[in-house]
């Protein structure tokens, strides 16, 4: 078990570093095992050094930067130990347009090997999707599903209803 953990740590650390540089276009992300409480197993520290900035603690990062670091780590785990499917609920809400583009690029890479379901209000993410489902509340308090199809650039990316499921 110990060997497997060490192996996973090394692979996730390498992948995290790679994805970090892709998302931040530079800088350095890495994982470290740190002695935590006495006697317990060492804990996992996340090191994020943004491009051009001195190393700062995670706490000083901005809202969007924290999300990018977390996403790099999650995607690293999913690449080292793939899951048949994954579900994300508004994970990119804090990102600006530029970082949304980088995020959807990562999402497309991930979708090569994993089925991706993402709940979102972000038009950039909608545009990157292959399939679009709308959840509506035509009757107060009850949900129904509508299969939508994105009609790019015709109406600014607002999805058009195709047919009621």
């Amino acid at each position: 078990l110990r060997v497997r953990f060490d192996q996973t740590f090394v692979e996730v650390d390498r992948e995290f570093g790679r994805l970090f540089q892709q998302l931040f276009e530079g800088g350095q992300g890495s994982l470290e095992l740190v002695e935590d409480e006495l006697g317990a197993e060492p804990g996992l520290e996340v090191i994020a050094q943004l491009p051009g900035k001195k190393r700062r603690s995670l706490v000083a990062l901005s809202g969007g930067e924290r999300v990018l670091v977390a996403l790099a780590l999650i995607f690293a785990m999913l690449r080292v130990h793939p899951s048949p499917f994954c579900i994300f609920d508004e994970v990119e809400a804090a990102l600006d347009d530029e970082n949304t583009r980088r995020f959807t690029g990562l999402l497309r890479d991930l979708a090569q090997q994993t089925q991706v379901l993402i709940i979102t209000h972000n038009k950039g993410t909608m545009a990157a999707a292959d399939v679009l489902y709308g959840v509506t509340m035509q009757e107060l308090g009850t949900s129904s599903l509508v299969s939508l199809r994105l009609v790019p650039s015709q109406n600014g990316g607002e999805p058009e209803p195709r047919e009621e499921l």
Binding site: R4, T8, F9, V12, L33, V34, D36, E37, A40, E41, P42, G43, L44, E45, V46, L58, R66, V67, V69, A70, I74, M77, L78, S83, P84, F85, I87, F88, D89, E90, V91, L107, R108, A111, T114, Q115, V116, L117, I118, I119, T120, H121, M126, A128, A129, D130, V131, L132, Y133, G134, V135, T136, M137, E139, L140, G141, T142, S143, L145, L165
Partner: protein, 165 residues
């Protein structure tokens, strides 16, 4: 082991039988605030064997049963069925498609089935054990949860990585 189909009846805001077909690639789920998007994800977590009502935004397990609206009476049962593709044999069953089905009554009594055969909750949980899926894996990131891994202690992060090993 990709997702094939989800069917909900009486589960939160999905009162009438609702079916969702899944596709490979990226599927985006969109809709107004409160329309029922996160409820869909709760339905999938529940079908995978989640036992903690609070992670489904309730306090008791029967909180997931449709509670009624001004024009509809409350239901007494909620049922969710999730069909997964099993061509590669990730799930230890001879079938190329596996459907797990879970129901709960107002009193909290559960009914469980795998491919139509009655079973216990433990059987569903054991089914997913080796796959790393279960309700709480790093492949399911709920609303507001994306930076939970950064907020966690070093020890909690280690445990998160161990789950993946």
């Amino acid at each position: 082991m990709q997702l094939r189909r989800l069917e909900l009846v009486g589960f939160k805001t999905f009162v009438d039988r609702t079916e969702l077909e899944f596709h490979p690639g990226i599927t985006a789920i969109v809709g107004p605030n409160g329309s029922g998007k996160s409820n869909l994800m709760d339905g999938i977590r529940w079908a995978l064997g989640e036992t903690n009502a609070r992670l489904l935004r309730g306090s008791r397990m029967d909180d997931i049963i449709f509670a009624g609206t001004a024009s509809r009476r409350p239901h007494s049962l909620a049922r969710v069925s999730l069909t997964l593709e099993n061509g590669a044999g990730d799930l230890p069953l001879e079938f190329s498609e596996v459907t797990v089905s879970r129901a709960v009554t107002r009193g909290g009594e559960g009914e469980y089935a795998i491919n139509g055969l009655d079973c216990r909750l433990r059987d569903i949980q054991m089914l997913f054990l080796g796959t790393g899926l279960g309700g709480r894996s790093y492949a399911l990131i709920g609303q507001g949860e994306v930076d939970a891994v950064l907020r966690a202690t070093p020890l909690e992060r280690r445990q998160w990585l161990e789950e993946a090993a």
